[in-house]
């Protein structure tokens, strides 16, 4: 396997890092927290100009048709800064589902708009009873005697008709121009766009990432595509790799700022980074980071070149990234001492991001079970 970057990828990575440093400094991230969306919208326009939302969209719909490895590299850079969730929900989740399962009309309608940055979108999958397990999404219709609630965890009405459906933990739903919801249909899934969804914003641990409940009546929703569960799973798996890459970027940033801090901070007449207890924590941060980085790159290469390995590889990447980011975010605060515990330092945002990401698209335990099932133990 070739992990090495091409010259183009190296250049791209450098320009991505520069753009993020100038367009999304800490001050912008902090402005976003109480400006009801204007800073994040400006950022979205800026990265759209640069063509980032077009990255994974096929060329025939106005995209760049790039692969998952390029996506992972970009996500890693974005993870260094605490960017809003619009990119992942729009350009990876919604665009991926449209590309793989959307009907031709829907693809023509939405993909070029996403590629150009005109349309912010999201994908609503998670339902309270199924979590991230797509096979556990309940089927609608009820003819097979299963619970008949739209497959999606709304209440069943007395006459057996489907009641409203609620999707939870929907990323960036409030800011989305397009909300695509997933409904189970026998062995397949259907993509629908609800006409008048009720969006309830959730208070989130990570204030830089918005989540919402989305409730809608399946009878009042337009079907825009359908496909096998596998097609949806592939979309989710690629998004999982992207999220894991972002987490690796976050952990890498934390290690860098922490190393810089413990070199500069002096106590007892010497840099605290010369103390063994500090050194060993930093070494462990690097070890877990590099494990996660290899697992993520491997999964991205698998997505591009060996799709049959993606299911296993994406779970490996998420488990490794969950651990690395969690550890890095905890140790970064510890190694900064008191200053690391202040609101003024950005470290707490990374701590919150790490924990929120750990449970997004499947926890460590969930992916561990998925790995065990695939390996047959």
């Amino acid at each position: 396997m070739n992990f090495s970057l091409t010259e183009d990828q190296e250049l791209l990575r450098r320009s991505e890092r520069e753009l993020l440093a100038s367009e999304w400094p800490s001050a912008a991230m902090r402005r976003m927290l109480d400006d009801s969306g204007s800073a994040s919208h400006q950022f979205w326009l800026k990265i759209s100009e640069t063509g980032w939302p077009a990255l994974m969209i096929p060329e025939e719909y106005g995209g760049l048709g790039s692969g998952a490895y390029d996506l992972a590299l970009l996500m890693e850079e974005m993870g260094r800064r605490l960017v809003p969730g619009t990119f992942l929900s729009t350009a990876v989740l919604a665009a991926g589902a449209l590309q793989r399962m959307g009907n031709e009309e829907a693809r023509r309608n939405y993909l070029p708009g996403i590629a150009e940055g005109r349309v912010k979108a999201t994908l609503a999958v998670y339902a309270p009873n199924s979590g991230w397990d797509l096979g556990a999404l309940r089927t609608s219709g009820g003819t097979d005697g299963q619970v008949t609630n739209g497959g999606n965890d709304g209440p069943v009405t007395d006459d057996g008709n489907e009641g409203p459906v609620t999707k939870s933990f929907v990323p960036d739903a409030a800011a989305a121009d397009l909300i695509i919801c997933v409904l189970r249909e026998g062995d397949d899934v259907r993509l629908v766009v609800p006409h008048d969804p009720k969006i309830t914003a959730l208070e989130t641990l990570d204030p830089t990432r918005a989540l919402a409940d989305v409730t809608f009546d399946p009878a009042e929703a337009e079907t825009i595509g359908e496909g096998a569960i596998d097609a949806l799973q592939r979309t989710i798996d690629i998004a999982t790799v992207a999220l894991a890459a972002e987490m690796v970027g976050g952990a890498a940033e934390l290690l860098e700022v922490t190393v810089a801090y413990v070199k500069a901070r002096r106590q007892f007449g010497r840099p605290v980074g010369s103390f063994q207890a500090v050194q060993h924590r930093a070494a462990d941060m690097l070890i877990s980071l590099e494990k996660a980085r290899s697992a993520v790159y491997y999964a991205a290469i698998a997505a591009d070149e060996q799709p049959e390995r993606l299911a296993l590889a994406s779970s490996m990447a998420k488990v490794a990234a969950n651990k690395a980011y969690r550890f890095a975010s905890q140790q970064a605060i510890q190694l900064h001492g008191g200053i690391g515990f202040t609101w003024e330092q950005d470290l707490h945002f990374y701590l919150k991001r790490a924990k929120a990401s750990e449970f997004s698209l499947g926890s460590t335990a969930w992916h561990a079970e998925r790995i065990a099932a695939q390996l047959g133990f």
């Binding site: 050194q279 070494a283 490996m316 335990a365 047959g376 133990f377």
Partner: protein
Amino acid sequence: MSVTSEENDPRLLYTTEDAAFRQRFRNWLEANKVTAKRSDVDARRRWQKKLFDAGWIGLSWPSEYGGQGATLRQEFIYNEEVARAAGPEPLNSIGLLIAGPAIIACGSEEQKKRYLPKILSGEEIWCQGFSEPNAGSDLASLQTRAVSDGDDYLVTGQKIWTSSSRLADFCLLLVRTDPERPRHKGITALAVDMKSPGVSVKPLPQITGEAEFGEMFFDGVRVPKENGIWPENEGWLVAMKTFTRERANISFRSSLQLQKSFDSLVESARAEGGLDAAARQKLAEVYVDVQALQLNCERFGEQLYGFHSSMIKVAWAEANQQLQELGLDRLGAKAALMPEQEGSWQFGYLRSRGNSIEGGTAEILRGVIAERVLGLPRK
């Protein structure tokens, strides 16, 4: 289905050229492989000779001394195929992994011609005399003394943790030639004939009950000065060069061995009715660690010649310790029994406790990572 079947192999395809190399070696192994226990010294010696005669040993060594000048990638493939075939380990492992590379890096032309071919063929077995009872992690404090006596040194002192000491024909020995100089600058590396008068060896039983290692005693042993590897008092540099390219191979090889242990745990779990949720998830997490180690080796590539190998070593020791304990715990009450055979989980658990001590303790290596990779200030 073995977990290491090609289907689940974490690494993607190599280039065609490499695939041909893999196929050639795989074919040879299939036709020639033998099975032998680790303790079967004669069989392992014969196996090494067979590899040598067919040109399948010392891949990275210069061709004028019997090597093949292979690429690092080919060496990784070689290691994968060796692991896959589960053949015995060549007898002269210290010669191949430590003494040979040191002689290649620092030996005179005469020494290279004299020693290297016989290291490869397994005709002369080597051991390594570095650690002492009072010089473990702090190797530079070693006290074994070499006093000049005409054209010879007279060597007196004690070494410890020497593997293959009872089999060895030669020892790569670090001695203090000048106690007046700063401690790193008064050490010399010598090739010592283990049959010299005054050399004695005693087995050192370890917590498993076996004696993989020995203690060596040198009592006025006469060693010709021409057996010095590199100039007098430059031995510290020889010790530093001991691990060069082989360090990358040791890293990769140990990550492959870990895969074997993982597979056997999965096999026995399947055969005996599965795992509870806690053990299953823990095992899946160990699987991720095992795969990540192999992927790290591939991604680091030549960086493994340097300090990146410390990261692999620390992570490998932790993963193996977790894996062995998981295997033992799974036995429940039977974990309290001690079966005779090597290869039991009890044996594995006990042996694994040495992993974070041998070849650099976890503490020393974390310091190396912090200072040499992350650039933190030295103590």
